[in-house]
Subunit: 457 residues, 2 copies
């Protein structure tokens, strides 16, 4: 069991048991001399949130597979993990948090409260009906999974990463599935419309009805949901899943005087320390979805709702807690998702985002295959590259395989400020079971080159 008797150890309190909270707890425990308490509002510890849609789809057998640690893991490590426990308030002057009426002193604090699902005002009442869900936690996933067992008609509100994954899952289960998306293009935060069209076509091919450019007017029913009104039509619905984005969970912090940025996320410096009106607090860190980070390309504040970013922030917080000053820099935020048979990935900025920030870009698109055309299992591969002043600033890839690895390479390429000319002369592998002779990346770069003023074909 954990040791509470030692008084000369510093007290670290972590609020939040997600990707940041538990990673900081376990890695600091291994390397630092802290007494650690983690408060998590979730009843479960250490599970893969990102795996939930794939249990619902049947790819993964059962939610138990998502549990990453044995129940005893944290107490055996000496970490006091309090599940199902919400921190009520925080007093920075007093260096305490209040939990269930009790004060807990901290020397160091980590705020990793994550985010909560966004629900628009007009849907708030309908969201209270039975069989209307949002998806954040394992318990949410289990509830959705059970509700789908007896469902025929499912409406999914929001065509972001989770929305499209859940739509695939529902369609795979043979349900009549409607996906409604406010933007005219799916995954509009991740990819441009030309690429989103490919995703939409695939969703439709597996039986998802996709309604874009529309917002539901209301979710209707008595006790249980019965329909969703979209564009004047009532679509029958046994189950509704709202996946219309997430908002940083910052109330605890802002009530304590911690400053919130223009994105709605908690302001942090490069050491991930929070700011109050007295300046940055050297003892209070924040990471994950609730923290405001900086975009590598635009230089502007942004939120990253990726587990991979959260995990990297955890590493920086841990280093700073054990006196190895480390910075968290601007991000290119690489994302990948599995949408039926398609792998979709993106990194850097999209054309849409570039326009918002008045960044002039030139793009090139290539269509190729993931293996030699004659090789069994070859799938189509779409690559879009974005350049600004001949420097790579964004990439989007869709294909049947190898997409994550491509995006990772392009992630580094953007951070290294790779030029169009460097991409044109880059060396790529060739073997028929894994590639084309000339990688489509080269063709995408050539496509951008041709659009530049004064370029020869």
């Amino acid at each position: 069991m954990y040791d509470t008797g030692t008084t000369n150890r510093k007290k670290l309190i972590i609020v939040g048991g997600g990707a940041v909270g538990l990673a900081v707890a376990t890695s600091v425990k291994r390397h630092g001399n802290y007494e650690i308490t983690v408060f998590s509002s979730d009843p479960h510890a250490a599970y893969s949130q990102c795996g939930i849609p794939f249990v619902i789809s049947g790819e993964i057998e059962g939610f138990d597979k998502l549990l990453l640690k044995q129940k005893d893991f944290f107490p055996e490590m000496g970490i006091d993990l309090r599940l199902d426990t919400t921190v009520e308030s925080l007093d920075l002057k007093d260096r305490t948090v209040f939990v269930k009426g009790e004060k807990h002193h901290f020397d160091k604090l980590v705020i990793a409260t994550g985010s909560r699902p966004a629900v628009s005002d007009n849907l708030r009442q309908g969201a209270e009906l039975d069989n209307v869900f949002t998806l954040r936690s394992l318990e949410d996933g289990k509830r959705i999974d059970r509700s789908l067992e007896n469902a025929k008609n499912v409406v999914i509100i929001g065509g972001g990463g989770i929305g499209v994954e859940i739509a695939v899952a529902a369609a795979k289960r043979g349900l009549r599935t409607i996906l409604v998306n406010r933007s005219i293009s799916l995954l509009s935060h991740n990819i441009d419309q030309d690429m989103a069209d490919i995703v939409q076509e695939h969703l439709e091919s597996i039986g998802v009805d996709v309604l874009t450019g529309q917002s539901p007017h209301s979710i209707n029913g008595k006790a249980r949901v019965e329909s969703v009104s979209i564009g004047g039509v009532d679509f029958p619905a046994d189950v509704v899943i709202i996946s219309a984005g997430a908002l940083p969970e910052t109330k605890l912090a802002s009530d304590a005087g911690i400053e919130i940025g223009t994105t709605g996320g908690i302001i942090v410096n490069e050491h991930l320390q929070v700011r109050t009106k007295s300046g940055y607090d050297p003892d209070v860190y924040c990471g994950g979805e609730c923290a405001q980070v900086q975009n590598f390309i635009t230089g502007m504040p942004m939120l990253s709702q990726l587990a991979s970013t959260a995990r990297r922030m955890a590493g920086v917080i841990r280093n700073n807690l054990i006196s190895r000053p480390t910075s968290f820099g601007p991000i290119v935020n690489p994302w990948a998702g599995a949408i039926g048979e398609l792998q979709v990935g993106t990194v850097g900025i999209t054309t849409r985002k570039a326009k918002q920030h008045r960044i002039k870009t030139v793009s090139g698109i290539a269509i190729g295959t993931t293996r030699a055309g004659y090789y069994p299992g070859s799938t189509r591969l779409f690559i879009k590259l974005l350049f600004s002043n001949r420097i790579l600033v964004g990439a989007q890839v869709i294909g049947g395989e190898g997409v994550k690895e491509r995006i990772d390479g392009l992630s580094l390429a953007i951070r290294k400020r790779t030029t169009l000319d460097e991409l044109l002369s880059m060396e790529t592998c060739y073997t028929p079971p894994m590639s084309m002779l000339i990688d489509p990346l080269t063709f995408a770069a050539q496509g951008a080159l041709k659009k530049l003023p004064g370029s020869k074909k």
Copy 2:
């Protein structure tokens, strides 16, 4: 049909109908004003040489799938392609080549004669026996394929890329397969022994008997091969395939006074023009396996026997021929191969190569998985990174999927002189069907960091 009447067009002769020769011919034809003749000693035009082992293994149905162009393609383009035709000699002063006793004038010449299989002196006599093969051409592939139909025992001499691919093919066909390799490690030009051990283990698991650190003494038989003597033992053999490397085919060039480098390849400048004692010849180009190129890391001359390198050289030659001066720089030579269920890739230098060139390196190895551990289809992933002065100089990857794409990204990373610190802080994607939360690349970089003097764990 091609036009031979026009006399004001310059005459381009290309010697060799492989990856360089035909790519130069077709792309120059599209963009330049040349009368083009290609002489190829091969009876077939435009096929995928790299696909041959996968027809033999049964992955690809039939050799016809490897033919990339219709028979009429070249004449219809106006290219005079002479198959099954060997150029006998070359006169640089006279600007002519001799073919079947006839002189052919050129204004520009491309030498793309490729390479020929290496056969050691002690095996030369046995190599003349029936059912002893080397593998270069489609015809070689067909002969091997037919011979295996009635075979029981196969011996493959040489454990390079083609050797291991053919060993897999023979084992898949249920034949008793012996692979004998002079080096104690398979793929010794591509990967280090620790990585080669993983490949060897896989080959053995699918039934290949691997003999490393041994060279055959002789290939024995009367008219047809009967056995191979290795280490004093006669191993029965119905079919023997010698895949013990390739030598640049340079006789035509060297007989004409073109200079040959220390690697045995034809010396070229950055425009891929050949050198004689009078200096570089602005009208005579050379590319592909017969040309000597420069290693990006060591700065030393080397040969690249990759179709992908050949194809890039073709692009440079084409540009120079149509008056767009373009350079071919030093290479990192990324290679990937499919060896049974394993994908293997490498780029930059290996530890072995570094030692030969007295380059001090530090390596890091990580073992991970290609998907979340709980996700179906996840396979083991091995990553080895090599750093010199904290700069990435080499990478080796083995896994069940996504290897080519990883190597491509690392290829660019090496060319961009990416530092260990940049790799440690790089951003990678995460989604359970395609990756681990923290990419093993990060762990490999951390592994190297720990070996550096004065590093903290």
